[in-house]
Assembly symmetry: D2
Homo-oligomer: 496 residues x 4
Amino acid sequence: MAGSGAFVELLEEDVYKYYFDGEWRKSASGKSVSIINPTTRKPQYKVQACTQEEVNKIMETSKVAQKAWAKTPLWKRAELLHRAAVLLKEHKNPIAECLVKEIAKPAKDAVTEVVRSGDLVSYCAEEGVRILGEGKFLVSDSFPGNDRNKLCLTSKIPLGIVLAIPPFNYPVNLAVSKIAPALIAGNSVVLKPPTQGAVAALHMVHCFHLAGFPKGLISCVTGKGSEIGDFLTMHPGVNCISFTGGDTGIAISKKAGMVPLQMELGGKDACIILEDADIDLAAANVVKGGFSYSGQRCTAVKVVLVMESVADALVEKVKAKVAKMTVGPPEENCDITPVVTESSANYIEGLVMDAKQKGATFCQEYKREGNLIWPLLLDHVRPDMRLAWEEPFGPVLPVIRITTVEEGIHHCNASNFGLQGCIFTRDINKAMMISDAMETGTVQINSAPARGPDHFPFQGLRDSGIGSQGITNSISMMTKVKSTVINLPTPSYTMG
Amino acid sequence: MAGSGAFVELLEEDVYKYYFDGEWRKSASGKSVSIINPTTRKPQYKVQACTQEEVNKIMETSKVAQKAWAKTPLWKRAELLHRAAVLLKEHKNPIAECLVKEIAKPAKDAVTEVVRSGDLVSYCAEEGVRILGEGKFLVSDSFPGNDRNKLCLTSKIPLGIVLAIPPFNYPVNLAVSKIAPALIAGNSVVLKPPTQGAVAALHMVHCFHLAGFPKGLISCVTGKGSEIGDFLTMHPGVNCISFTGGDTGIAISKKAGMVPLQMELGGKDACIILEDADIDLAAANVVKGGFSYSGQRCTAVKVVLVMESVADALVEKVKAKVAKMTVGPPEENCDITPVVTESSANYIEGLVMDAKQKGATFCQEYKREGNLIWPLLLDHVRPDMRLAWEEPFGPVLPVIRITTVEEGIHHCNASNFGLQGCIFTRDINKAMMISDAMETGTVQINSAPARGPDHFPFQGLRDSGIGSQGITNSISMMTKVKSTVINLPTPSYTMG
Amino acid sequence: MAGSGAFVELLEEDVYKYYFDGEWRKSASGKSVSIINPTTRKPQYKVQACTQEEVNKIMETSKVAQKAWAKTPLWKRAELLHRAAVLLKEHKNPIAECLVKEIAKPAKDAVTEVVRSGDLVSYCAEEGVRILGEGKFLVSDSFPGNDRNKLCLTSKIPLGIVLAIPPFNYPVNLAVSKIAPALIAGNSVVLKPPTQGAVAALHMVHCFHLAGFPKGLISCVTGKGSEIGDFLTMHPGVNCISFTGGDTGIAISKKAGMVPLQMELGGKDACIILEDADIDLAAANVVKGGFSYSGQRCTAVKVVLVMESVADALVEKVKAKVAKMTVGPPEENCDITPVVTESSANYIEGLVMDAKQKGATFCQEYKREGNLIWPLLLDHVRPDMRLAWEEPFGPVLPVIRITTVEEGIHHCNASNFGLQGCIFTRDINKAMMISDAMETGTVQINSAPARGPDHFPFQGLRDSGIGSQGITNSISMMTKVKSTVINLPTPSYTMG
Amino acid sequence: MAGSGAFVELLEEDVYKYYFDGEWRKSASGKSVSIINPTTRKPQYKVQACTQEEVNKIMETSKVAQKAWAKTPLWKRAELLHRAAVLLKEHKNPIAECLVKEIAKPAKDAVTEVVRSGDLVSYCAEEGVRILGEGKFLVSDSFPGNDRNKLCLTSKIPLGIVLAIPPFNYPVNLAVSKIAPALIAGNSVVLKPPTQGAVAALHMVHCFHLAGFPKGLISCVTGKGSEIGDFLTMHPGVNCISFTGGDTGIAISKKAGMVPLQMELGGKDACIILEDADIDLAAANVVKGGFSYSGQRCTAVKVVLVMESVADALVEKVKAKVAKMTVGPPEENCDITPVVTESSANYIEGLVMDAKQKGATFCQEYKREGNLIWPLLLDHVRPDMRLAWEEPFGPVLPVIRITTVEEGIHHCNASNFGLQGCIFTRDINKAMMISDAMETGTVQINSAPARGPDHFPFQGLRDSGIGSQGITNSISMMTKVKSTVINLPTPSYTMG
């Protein structure tokens, strides 16, 4: 159970501690931040409200720890990560419990998140051993006018301190997808978890603690955004920011200066369905893509662009599937669970009311109880409705009927977001050519958008982000090239 | 014109000289080999019948020249290749003329072969600058138990002397596709052109001569296979054999010992046509794939495997296109020209007669005049006919009707050959999955098999060859890894 | 001659035009900016003072041109770049003339800059053909729990509009090192040249114009920083900023938001000289590294850290070489020419006076006439002097005597800058281990720091920059990953 | 203990069984082969003398098993290899016991061999997941004249059945270095262990059996070379031969035809010692490199080429170290143990006697008891002695005194062998330039030759082999490229 057993030292009285210099500590502030359970809408947990002074100390310690860590053999770094992966899987239940209580994630999915996180950490360890163990050996005589007298060796070196800021919807998985690449690459990590999900993140961090990483290498700071938010992101000690979340990311990027950024800031993933599509397959993916975890996923299907001729058939099939969905508390593994906060529910309701007013067709009755919103498909949505462009991050899915493929592509490309998109067609030529035409980081052919498998590249265009993720790309992003050039007095050629 | 102008020094009396140590020379044998024009069936050219002694001298000189060449900066090697490419294109007409006369290649295609060869040489030059200018820089601490005290630098070094043996059907293009990678990689080259095509090859070699390559780096030896064939392939001076041709290759491979081999030995490329295929597209590709250069291409479509339900439609469309083909001399750019030798024509006729006897349906009447065979489509071919398995290398194309896809895949995979194959379908899933199931070096989706573009990998399974070609792979194949390990007294980590 | 012959259309009356939509134009502002010749200290040229409105139009046109350009085959893009490279070399003299007049670059070096720029453009074209023509093909069954039913194809796509801002010291070379990678990668380019060097840059741009690039793809805007500086760097149309220069870069980075940055902002390259060094070699490199182009190079040697035991010998040898240097106008190819502006000369003088006051040893008398400063070696410089840390960007070189290697490494790593560094030693172990310990983007063993050859990676740590340059890295930096995932209904394995 | 506990099913009466179709079996021949303990010179173990008929069955079963295995997800293949690695380490003692008894390997080294083998298997599993999960995605518009309408996906496919033939000196490690890459790449494996070492290999194979690999995927056949040697290597079912050993390899290569070969056939690794070398370091490496496992290593130092001026010092230091070596049975962990067979000992003695006769200086007295030969350093060896060129594979080390570096390089390059070499010098320039000049697969700077760490490339030039090993290269070597080309009806460009 959370805060007990192997995790007992995380909790004192009813407040979870923060993690610094290899120990769990109380903030000098004497204050705490409450975490509201989205289902009960009552306080569930409390975490430390850390101070700027504490952030400063974390940065100092992180820098020192990083220097020593960068001198640790790659295979030893990997070994520790493998240990952490095993511990994560061993302790999947208490961590998943936090996810259920903090973010109302259905219980089974919560367990899956933790297990998948363990796999990611292990895969990342081995990937790093290879990426970091191999540089290039370049010679000068490739370039016109040069002899072979300069031998250039390139290495990938750590950036220093990586500030990791994951979002509420995958507070464990999207934390380790930043932490593991940072660590294998020789960086230290300062984790600032989201408020909802903070306790799950603290438990996850404890698995790294138990794995035996050096003191100070990993820190986890909790607190109020108003107090330590900008202070963290603008801290001169930070050498890299890896952020997943919403608009805050754009604000961070404007203050970051010359700090390498890896940002993933949401999407409005379109699902284009052509006349020759397998409609059953498309409907199944619309439902899975649109309503999994109540639509609170970056890569959720957020707008369906379906050819008029097959729209009725598609909508019918989706409606039938929606009718079978269970709605209720995450503990009972309901398909649809409460959204993360009341303000989020209110925002979603605003989008729905706008669509209603402008004449969208409601395939189901709109229903809400507290943070719990029943799944809703809106047909005949038009570009003048907010739902055509905004990201509800809830179980509400607009359908726009199109008469040409170009219309669909245009809608997709006109969005501020450019994370993923998907296209349903049986036709190989259309699949490849429409995929080329869609201006998003990824295009899925005949499946809903998805972040994984975790070794695939993952990136967003326009306001959806900067940089590319996926295990391999994240490791590369958290390193920098350093080159050493051996200058010989006279040219020398390898003869063999 | 061949043997005149810039090429005048190649010819003395009526015999073309061989190329050795930067000069055009007559063989001490005093003998020559005649080349029969496939169209006139009369002697067209004569080349030197070189001796084993001359081969020995070539090998000695090649070794010395190679050592110096390997010490030439990469960009200078590339510069010379670019010059040769320009010269090839400048002299495309006399070289193409040889192709017309020696191998009855239609005049336009002959010019295209030379131009495309120039492009290949240039592309190869730049590719080599990059492949050879970049090795790996590996460190020891990737492997369990090791510190970072060993720094390994890997280089790609030349093999030494590359023996290049191209076939008659592309005596220029398939020669430069061996010569250019060999040279940019720092090797010397001994070229043994095919008898038909030898004079075109000598002209091509002269462009390299004019480009200013060092003496002895490139040699071109002509003569009788019985005298210098095995002598060349088993010569201890040879460090690599790159061969394109037929069964001879298997014999060579059995005697080659530890010499790296790059072999491409023909194919029986299947064209599988599914029910949902674009039949017009398929028919056009069957005709182009099956009858271009009278079917004398490794990657010609050599058996059509068409679903029964669309077979009639396909056969009709192919017949209509065949009816429009022109048949006659290469000088007039006829679609179908005489096959390369009388023995080849006889062999093709043998396959046709076997099919006739066993009941194949002739879509056209069988017609032959000398080496000229009219294009022939044979429907209802069955696995008991030789044409189902053997490679005619002529304008004769068998159609086998299938009732399941599996039948088609099975026929394709049961062949001794495994060069390429193609599949016509609109369905993306079938395209990818059947492509996975076909056991050939390459599978083309919705197009006839083809060797190019020349930077794509090109390889055959089973008896179709060993190694992979394409510019990049050929360069790699003609090098070997050499590594240098710097051992430090204590571990050292790059800190950045 | 500049502004005449092939360049006549650039000039109207005495003002050089700016380049927009394939044409040379006058600004609607009716105003111009004067360029002062550093040698004569009189106005040499005038350029248009463009308006914000004109910048807006440039951005619009650039976006449209980029979309079409991204649909141009790679080899065609390369062909145009090759043409531009040839034109640059053909017109090296008038361009070099501008460099002499605008930035007082010695005449021969000015010509070299242009020729080297042509080589860079050509190399970049071929590099891009390869980098951009090759993505990854990833399969899902690498990751635990997945079958092989997802096929991921990754491409490198253009970013859009690249804003290129080169510095005064290499206004041609450091412009094309941004323009060529941007173009081959499918981007459009907006060039903002430095005031000193603007006219050379305009001439260079004209070579691209003559090469036949599509209208609107390349623009070159001139004007006052106060009017269009921030307006350009914060323009929402900009998708990438590639900047080389000084502190301005840091300011730009703080406003850039989610725009990928490639920044190179100067250095304080240390030259560490050990007791076992070849002192002649070291002295020669100190002089070349410290005084070439009067020290106005990012990678100039900017501080010498020499072991006490060999310091006297080194200083003597350097002094002897300095004594032989010629000082005077660039037209006469003097070694030392006037620094770029009076304010720059004043800044240098400030550093010298500070060192004087604090007791540094002057190896030569300090001498200045206008912008011309005589080469000056300052011995016994100590960490409390500004010259120990600040970048003079002039012919003034401090020597700090050290008693241990660690002292040298520490000084190097304590700098805000981290561009390059060099180490002189004969010992292989020391060379590799000190190189590992120096925290700079590149370490040169036994040679002065240097940017080239241009295919080597080039990058700075800390305030020296973000991202990595060199042809290959620049192309990669100016692209983004896009992935397409083909989802199959059932797993499929390639059997071969 | 060998043949008991987990290994009990391997043994019936006193004969070890062979492994086929997932079971341990007795040969139908009813015959066995005896293995002589090199120390006791008495029969230690017996293994089955398999028949050609049994080989045929193995090949059939292997082919079937391979087809199914190639359809197994990569991560599952890796999982099984990880399990085998764990089992190898768990059972290190009984396996090491066999090594002690069969090949007289010192007990500690025997354990190390098994443990290192486990590490290799695990590393190989993860390497393969990456190498095999990533192909290239090439587009057609890189090549002149082409649009972007051809998309080429390249995969690495298994070769089929890999015949693995390790040598006696590392019968476990050099078996798994073939088995693990073969398996992860989707191949099946037929192992033919050396006679000495066969029982260790059988125990090793049992760990793969216990790990749960599918039936028929791995086979291990024992028997007489005269009966099944050529039969195996020329078997038409074999798709790849990976051989480590001696001259037999050359014979195999001459019969292999178009079967890809990976061969490592011994070396005569030279150790060049310059005047500025660290003589203590050099001496320590000469002793370790020359006498470890009694010199029975491919990468043993087999000839010392020392500059005359430091030769006396070196020889003195080596002599002093040799004097401290222990000589005796492997069970007591003696430094020098009996060589593997009596014929080997006789061969070594022949080389020693030749050197004696021709006037070499014996630094120790020559002493032999049975297969046990006392360590012997021979100074003043000259090129006319057999020891200057032949490989003793015993504790006998020749020293040749040289007066110039070129002499050393020349001796190294004149050898038929070209496996590794090493150079001792402090000078970075000499180190790199002599390394370039030495024509061997690897050059070690300031350390004795060595095969590992196992991810480094490992290869021999000339008679030392064909292909490159090391984990990464071995995996690549055991695959072939297959490409799929998607042909689009019109060009399509990824716009992003």
